[in-house]
């Protein structure tokens, strides 16, 4: 009698386990994309195997059988998450699409930044753009200009962060610091343009370098425009639903500018890396566009609750951030042209 009860308990565990396995494999067949299938295939089936193993453990005939089942169970418990993580990652990096119903892809930024870090760590010393020493000095000036622009954008990013936190005093300070930094950067740009024009580069190189400085200058100008808008803002309120989106937008723009600056630096280290980095800038810009579209939707939904002045400020901030990203993309396109052109010359 007792034995029959034990067997019944074990059998129920087995039935429950196989039921979970069935659900998991049904999910594997029916679900729409890799990530959801992975979810069904790993979690449900692990649970199913656990049920089967517990059932088998209860009626295991010998100590050696118990040990083997227990070991296998522990092993599966440790490895199932690892393998499903690896598969999901591999699928993501090999361009697996999510189903259209997907609401949000949170990994996107991390994936792009991960690729950027890998690129920068790779240390393939390829071909540089300007080889000779005097030419290098001229390029250094353009690169320094980019670094200063990056610095100004960083301060601007802080100002936007203060704006979102409602930290008005800090915001004003940061905004005016952005403007003064940007004015200094502009002076540097003028100096760089002068030096480049007077330098003994070949006319083509000179034109490319001049254009590069002009375009980086556009980035700085966009940052300055945003800082002016922020200085305008005084007492206002904006819906808290906009805050996360706006924060995301500002972070994405910041990463775009960072990537752009490393692309400019790589121009005189490794043209191949510079080209790939400029591709990443374009991808980030696409992402900025998408974030902005969602954000505008939210903003319009909340618009009833806003007075005209607040709506104007928030909208302006969004637009200037997008301008900044667009300027970055223009520069990245130019960098791509330069690297393709000089890579072909080898």
């Amino acid at each position: 009698m007792v034995e029959a009860m034990i067997q019944a308990v074990a059998g129920s565990f087995m039935l429950v386990g196989s039921f979970f396995a069935l659900v998991g494999s049904l999910g594997l067949v029916r679900l729409p994309d890799l990530y959801t299938r992975l979810h069904a295939g790993s979690k449900a089936v692990t649970l199913g195997v656990t049920g089967l193993a517990v059932g088998s453990l209860i009626i295991a005939p010998s100590i050696s059988a118990t040990t083997k089942i227990l070991l296998a169970l522990i092993f599966i418990f440790f490895t199932a998450p690892i393998t499903s993580h690896a598969i999901g990652r591999a699928g993501y990096y090999s361009g697996e699409r999510m189903c259209p119903e997907t609401v949000k892809d949170e990994y996107e930024t991390y994936a792009i930044l991960d690729r950027r870090d890998k690129l920068l760590k790779a240390r393939v010393k390829g071909r540089a753009w300007l080889g000779e020493r005097r030419q290098r000095e001229v390029f250094e000036l353009a690169s320094q200009h980019m670094q200063q622009t990056l610095e100004a954008v960083r301060v601007m990013h802080q100002a936007v962060g203060d704006f979102l936190k409602g930290n008005l005093e800090n915001m004003e300070e940061d905004a005016s610091r952005t403007i003064s930094l940007e004015n200094e950067t502009d002076r540097l740009a003028v100096e760089a343009l002068e030096v480049i024009s007077k330098s003994d580069l070949s006319p083509e190189d000179r034109g490319d370098l001049l254009n590069l400085v002009y375009m980086v200058r556009n980035v700085g100008t966009a940052a300055k425009a945003l800082a002016y808008r922020l200085e305008l803002a005084e007492e206002y309120h904006f819906p808290s639903k906009v805050v996360p989106g706006l924060e995301e937008l500002a972070n994405a723009v910041m990463e775009t500018v960072e990537t752009l600056s490393s692309a400019v630096t790589q121009l005189n280290t490794d043209l191949v890396v510079a080209e790939e980095l400029s591709d990443l800038v374009s991808e980030l810009e696409d992402m900025v566009d998408r974030i902005r579209r969602d954000l505008v939707k939210v903003l319009l939904r909340e618009a009833r609750l806003l007075d005209a002045a607040s709506f104007f400020v928030v909208n302006e901030v969004i637009m200037r951030l997008e301008d900044l990203a667009d300027a970055c993309e223009d520069t990245a396109d130019h960098i791509r042209v330069i690297s393709v052109k000089y890579l072909r010359l080898i």
Binding site: E3, A4, Q7, A8, A10, G11, S12, M14, L15, G17, S18, F19, A21, L22, G24, S25, L26, L28, V29, L34, R37, L38, G41, S42, V45, T46, G48, V49, L52, A53, G55, S56, I59, A60, P61, S62, S64, A65, K68, I69, L71, A72, F75, I76, T79, A80, I82, T83, S84, A86, I87, G88, R89, A90, G91, Y93, S94, E96
Partner: protein, 86 residues
């Protein structure tokens, strides 16, 4: 007593195996097939456990190697998909 439970659950497991084979054959991408393979191997581990305690404990010898092989194979193939191995 155990037979009334074990054989039906074995039947259910075999039906699920067929579903897995469907995804393994069809799966639009390699990652999908890998998912199906992982599911397939953990399910066959379950089947081996069941048969091991029902019929002959010799079946249990296959369980741990099966788990090991599927783990290593999946990790290797995913690294290949990410482009880190040849």
């Amino acid at each position: 007593m155990i037979e009334y439970f074990a054989w039906p659950s074995l039947l259910i497991l075999i039906i699920s195996l067929i579903f897995c084979f469907y995804r393994l054959a069809k799966g639009p991408s390699a990652a999908d097939q890998l998912t199906a393979y992982g599911t397939l191997s953990s399910m066959s581990i379950g089947i081996f456990m069941l048969v091991g305690v029902l019929v002959d404990t010799l079946f249990l010898e296959a369980v741990i190697p099966l788990a090991l092989v599927s783990f290593v194979a999946i990790l290797l193939i995913t690294r290949f998909l990410e482009g880190e191995v040849g």
